[in-house]
C-alpha cells in the first residue's frame, strides 16, 4: 500500500508537469488554431538556456532567464514563421510547426551531443519522509510549483483583460477584431506564455530521478501530446485532467511493471498513448474538448 501511495504522489507530480506543457499547447491552439508540433523544442530551448547559465549566474537567475528565453523563442516562432502563414489551412500550419521543430531540435541536440546537462537545482536527490511514505523533494517541488503556476494562469485567463481577449479571439476571430482586439498580439502572447510554461516544465523533467537535460528530454516532453488530446485540444480544464491521467498512468504502470511484465517491457512509455486511444474511441473530441482533431 505504501508503494501505491508513493506512486500516486509521484504520478500526480509528473502529471502536473505534463499539464504545464499541455496547457501551453492548448493556449496556442485556442489563440491561433495551430496544433503546435514544435512544443517540445520550446521546452528544450528553455531547459538548455537554464543549464547553460546555471554555473555562472546561479540556479534561480538561470531559471528565470531560461523561462524568458523560451518565451522569446516562442514569440520568434510566431512572429517569423506562423504569422506569414496566417489564414492558411490548419494542416499546413501544423506541418510548418513540424518543420520548425526539426530545425530547432537539430540545432539544440547538435550543441548538446551526448552530454547530460544538470540544471543545478537546489533539491538534488533528497528524500522527504512523510509518515511511511518516502518521496523525493523534487517531486514535491514539482507538484507545488506546477499547481501554483497553473492556478495563476487560470485566474489570469478568467479575470484579466488578456484572458478575455484570448477567449474572445478563440471563439470568433473576426468578432474579436471588431471589438478592438489585436489578434497579432493575442497570438504572440499565446506563444510566449506557452514557451514560459514549457521552460518551467523542462526544469522538472530533468531533475532527480532524471540525471539532467539530454537529447532524449524532448521525447519525454512529447507525452504531453496525449495529455492535451485526452483532455480536449481546446480546453484548459482538459489539459489539467489529461496531464494528471497521463502522469498517474505512467507512474503506476512503470511502478508495477514486474506485475505487468506479461504485457512486455517498457509499458510505462506506451501506456499514455494507449489511454489516449481508448479515450478518443469513446470521446473523439477528448474529455472536455469541443473540437475533434479531424477538424484541425
Amino acid at each position: 500500500m505504501t508503494t501505491f501511495f508513493e506512486l500516486l504522489i509521484s504520478g500526480i507530480s509528473l502529471g502536473a508537469v505534463y499539464a504545464l506543457i499541455a496547457l501551453g499547447f492548448v493556449v496556442i491552439f485556442r489563440a491561433t488554431e495551430v496544433v503546435n508540433f514544435a512544443h517540445a523544442s520550446l521546452l528544450f530551448a528553455g531547459g538548455y538556456v537554464t543549464a547553460l547559465l546555471t554555473d555562472d549566474i546561479g540556479f534561480w537567475a538561470a531559471l528565470i532567464v531560461g523561462i524568458a528565453g523560451a518565451a522569446v523563442v516562442g514569440s520568434l516562432v510566431e512572429f517569423l514563421v506562423i504569422r506569414r502563414y496566417r489564414g492558411r489551412d490548419h494542416s499546413v500550419l501544423a506541418i510548418v510547426t513540424i518543420g520548425v521543430d526539426i530545425v530547432l531540435l537539430t540545432d539544440l541536440t547538435r550543441r548538446i551531443g551526448t552530454d547530460v546537462l544538470p540544471l543545478g537545482d537546489p533539491w538534488g536527490d533528497k528524500i522527504v519522509q512523510i509518515g511511511p511514505l518516502a518521496i523525493p523533494e523534487t517531486r514535491i517541488a514539482a507538484l507545488l510549483t506546477a499547481a501554483l503556476v497553473i492556478a495563476v494562469f487560470l485566474l489570469a485567463f478568467r479575470y484579466t483583460s488578456w484572458g478575455v481577449a484570448m477567449r474572445a479571439a478563440a471563439e470568433d476571430r473576426e468578432a474579436a477584431a471588431l471589438m478592438g482586439v489585436r489578434l497579432g498580439r493575442v497570438s504572440l502572447s499565446a506563444w510566449a506564455v506557452a514557451g514560459a510554461l514549457a521552460a518551467i516544465a523542462a526544469l522538472f523533467l530533468t531533475v532527480f530521478p532524471t540525471p539532467g537535460l539530454e537529447r532524449n528530454t524532448s521525447l519525454v516532453a512529447l507525452k504531453a501530446f496525449p495529455a492535451a488530446i485526452i483532455g480536449g485540444l481546446d480546453s484548459t480544464t482538459g489539459a489539467l485532467a489529461g496531464g494528471l491521467i497521463v502522469g498517474v498512468t505512467e507512474a503506476m504502470v512503470t511502478g508495477y511493471q514486474d506485475e505487468l511484465s506479461f504485457l512486455g517491457r517498457g509499458l510505462g512509455e506506451v501506456a499514455p498513448y494507449l489511454v489516449m486511444l481508448l479515450i478518443l474511441l469513446a470521446r473523439p473530441a477528448g474529455l472536455f474538448g469541443t473540437r475533434e482533431l479531424t477538424r484541425v
Partner: protein, 266 residues
Amino acid sequence: MPHAALQVGALTAGYGPVRALREVTLTVGDGAVVAVLGGNGAGKTTLLRAISRTLGFHGGAVAGGEISFGETRLDRLAAPEVVAAGVVQVPEGRRVFARMTVADNLRAGALGAPRGSRSVSLERVHDLFPVLLERAAQPAGLLSGGEQQMLALARGLMAQPKLLLLDEPTLGLAPLAAERIAERIREINRQGTSVLLVEQNAAIALRVASEAYVLETGRVALSGPAAELAASDEVRRRYLGVVDEDAAADAERIADAAPVLRRWQP
C-alpha cells in the same frame, strides 16, 4: 458641428473576381441615423466590412475610393484602429461569444475602449438593456435571439463608439422584439451616437433613419431623406411590400374570388 462625419467616396470593393461594391458614395453626418437598404447580396455587409477593415477575413479587399471619419482616413487602418477611432460595428448574425458569460462579452466589448471607461459604459448599457444585468453570469449562447441582439448592441456600445455600424439588427426577430430593438437604436442615437443602419426591414429602418440609401447589386440606386424614400413608389413596391393601385385592385379581386377561410372542424 460636423466634426466626425463618415464619408465614403467612390468606394469599390470585392472578393477576388467578384465586384460587390461599385463607386459607392455615402455620408453619415454627426449625430445622424442613416439607413442602407437593399436585397440579398446587394453589398450591404460588404460596405460595413470595408469601413471596419474586416474584408480580409473573407478574402475581400477595397479596390478603390476612400473612407474617412472626421479627419481620420479609415481605409489605411487595421480593424482595431478603426474601433479606436470611434467606429464600431455590430456584425450580422449577432456573433456573441457563446461560450463566454454575458458579463465577459461586455468586457470583451470594452477591450478597444480607453482604460477606466468600463464602469461608465457598463452602467449605460445596463440602463439601456436591464435584462443583461439579470443574465450577467449566464453563457451568452443560452440567451434568446432577441436577448443576443441586445447583448451584441451592448457589447458594441462598450467601446464608446461615436458611430455605430449595425448590420441587420432586427434579422430573425419577431415583430415586437424588432420594434423594441428599433426603439433602443433611437435611444442610443439620442444619447449622441451616430448610426449607420443596414436593414432589409425597410419599414423599420425608414422610421428610425433621417436619410437612406438603397443599394442594388453594389451600386447606390436611390438616396435621399428617409421620409421621401418611404413615400416613393419604387421603394414602397420593392422594399415596403406595398403594391401599387392596379396591383392592389388585382389582389383584391383574387381575394374576393377565393373561398373564405373557415375554421377547421373535426
